[in-house]
């Protein structure tokens, strides 16, 4: 019965709760990224690390580097803005809607996930 009494009211479906480490988690993430990439209207996805260096990308090198550098700076600025206003707060995600497409940035502890989508397609 002990396993059931762990946080009876909370279902950690949304938290970054215990995910199986190892190959299972790896495959899961890969699949999710693949799904995102193949979703309707998505132009490109990329994963950038804390220093602004792209780790994984579906776009060409020069574009990736450009996006990575610029968006990294922007994310840092946005995060600092949010935290300056309220130190308990933190940035969840950043969406930039432009005429042509939408850039979505989801920051994580160490990484940045950037997706460019054209929603009107």
């Amino acid at each position: 019965m002990t396993e059931w009494t762990n946080e009876p009211g909370l279902c950690p479906l949304r938290s970054s709760g215990p995910r199986p480490a190892g190959l299972g988690a790896q495959a899961e993430v890969e699949e999710t990224l693949k799904r995102i990439q193949s979703h309707k209207g998505v132009i490109g996805t990329m994963v950038v690390n804390a220093e602004g260096i792209p780790i994984r990308t579906t776009l060409d090198n020069s574009t990736t580097v450009q996006y990575a550098g610029l968006l990294h700076q922007l994310t840092v600025k946005a995060r600092s803005t949010v935290r300056d206003i309220d130190p308990q707060n933190d940035l969840t995600f950043l969406r930039i809607r432009s005429k042509k497409h939408e850039i979505m940035v989801a920051p994580d502890k160490e990484y940045l996930l950037i997706v460019i989508q054209n929603p009107c397609e």
Binding site: M1, G9, G17, I53, D108
Partner: protein, 651 residues
Amino acid sequence: MPQKQPPRRQSISVGRGARKRDEDSGTDVGEGADEWAQSKATVRPPDQLELTDAELKEEFTRILTANNPHAPQNIVRYSFKEGTYKLIGVVNQLAVHFSQVGNLIPKDSDEGRRQHYRDELVAGSQESAKVVISETEILEEEEPKEAEAEPEAASQTDVLAAEAAAKVTEEELLTPKQPKERKLTNQFNFSERASQTLNNPLRDRECQMEPPPRTNFSATANQSDDITKVTQAAKIVERMVNQNTYDDVAQDFKYYEDAADEYRDQEGTLLPLWKFQNDKAKRLAVTALCWNPKYNDLFAVGHGSYDFMKQGRGLLLLYSMKNPSFPEFIFSSESGIMCLDMHVDHPYLVVVGHYDGNVAIYNLKKPHSQPSFRSSAKSGKHMDPVWQVRWQKDDMDNNLNFFSVSSDGRIVSWTLLKSELVHTDVIKLKAEGTATDGPAGLQLHTVGCGTAFDFHKEIDYLFLVGTEEGKIYKCSKSYSSKFLDTYDAHNMAVDAVSWNPYHTKVFMSCSSDWTVKIWDHTIKTPMFIYDLNSAVGDVAWAPYSSTVFAAVTTNGKTHVFDLSINKYEAICNQPVAAKKKNKITHVQFNPIHPIIIVGDDRGHVICLKLSPNLRKMPKEKKGQEVQKGPAVEIAKLDKLLNLVREVKTKT
């Protein structure tokens, strides 16, 4: 001595034989052997021993040893240690025959060196004397040459003599040193002969090109470049992407209220929102739907097959409305899933019933495909498909438990004890009136087949069971053989029974005989009967009103009724199936949002929004406070029921 010799010789020569005589004669030949040869007669001295021939021939051995014959052979000395005389074994055998003291001394000893020095001195003075003598001779030879010359010569000779004398003294002084310092010359007259060629000086000759231009190429490879850390962000982004794609749908869901409802005289519509489907569930029918009690956007879909001939595997998918393109959780099983339920207090526990009669519990916290607990043939699984499962309140020991009903006629209560499922048969359904007389007066009861059940919201022990024969039994958990009541509900199997969420007395049932009936459990006949022109798969009460319910039929239509508005007809009658020939199997209302989900037999789940007409609240009369809450609902329904009852009593 010489005198003695001749007689001895003679005796010997006589004693020893001819050989000796020859030798002697040989030696004596030179000295006039003839004379001696004549007088060879043996002369025996008078004191010679008389020996016999044997004694004469006796051989005596003489041995030469190194022993000293004069040395004593048994020296005894007194030993003070033992206090006795001891024989000394080894005696010195050395015999000195001759000794003389000499006058040689070694060179290196002190005396030797002293003598050597003295000898050298003597030798040196002799030499200098010789040199002087030779020089004086030379001088003397020179003198006569120069003596005639002048009187200076005399002085010269004097000088010369003085010089010579000085030389001598000098030499005398020098020579004692010289013999000392004189080097040991090489006696062998060795001279080294060597030659060397001319060595050329070494020189470094190099040449170096200009180095090619270099560029630095570097990159950092982190061991912790772990893509799994992006899972959370990836999930969020996926939802964002979906939101963008289905932006209009999301907007509709949130904000759209059909304005046309004002003009539609009481009727409402269902607005299709999202469609949920998955490749894995393509051929499987939706057999169960359930909203999560905690997370209002999460719902579970059970997939299986209703076809007796075509039984395959089962799937349990959990979708979130925020991500319609891919389920949050996927569980697969070998047997088709027929029903499911989510626990109210533990929203991560999902109990499912399978077509093969097994029940299983999935824990969403551990999303691997295996159920956490599963029944088996040993632990009392059903013999027939499990048609309904329902979580109950925790029992007295705080163990989780749930009920299941199946076509094998058993209603079983399962309890989760520590790590296994324990079952208890609560009721065995007996088809009443079918008792046949067996041999010896035994009454055999055929077993009824349960197809649906529902538990009362407030009265804990009370529940309803629908059967395949079309009867509904009102049962209590405490009585296992007797039913509290029986209702002859339908002509065909009862597909669903459901208590009203507000009114404690009202329940509803639907069947494949095309009818939906609403009952008061105290009255044996139904209050309302609705004929829907097609087999009704499922009915569900709306959570926000006691008079609204929805029914789905196999012709792909969804019917929504509101008894307070229209007692006889549906206020909404809408085909919602994805494809025309899809049969809709289940319907569920969302507890919070004004949406329903509808599942069909092709594995599609469609989410529909209820138009405002379908969610009508009683109109506020001006000046009167709007009452909300269950009491109002109950009162509303009561009013209706009373009307009906009055009608009935009248007729």
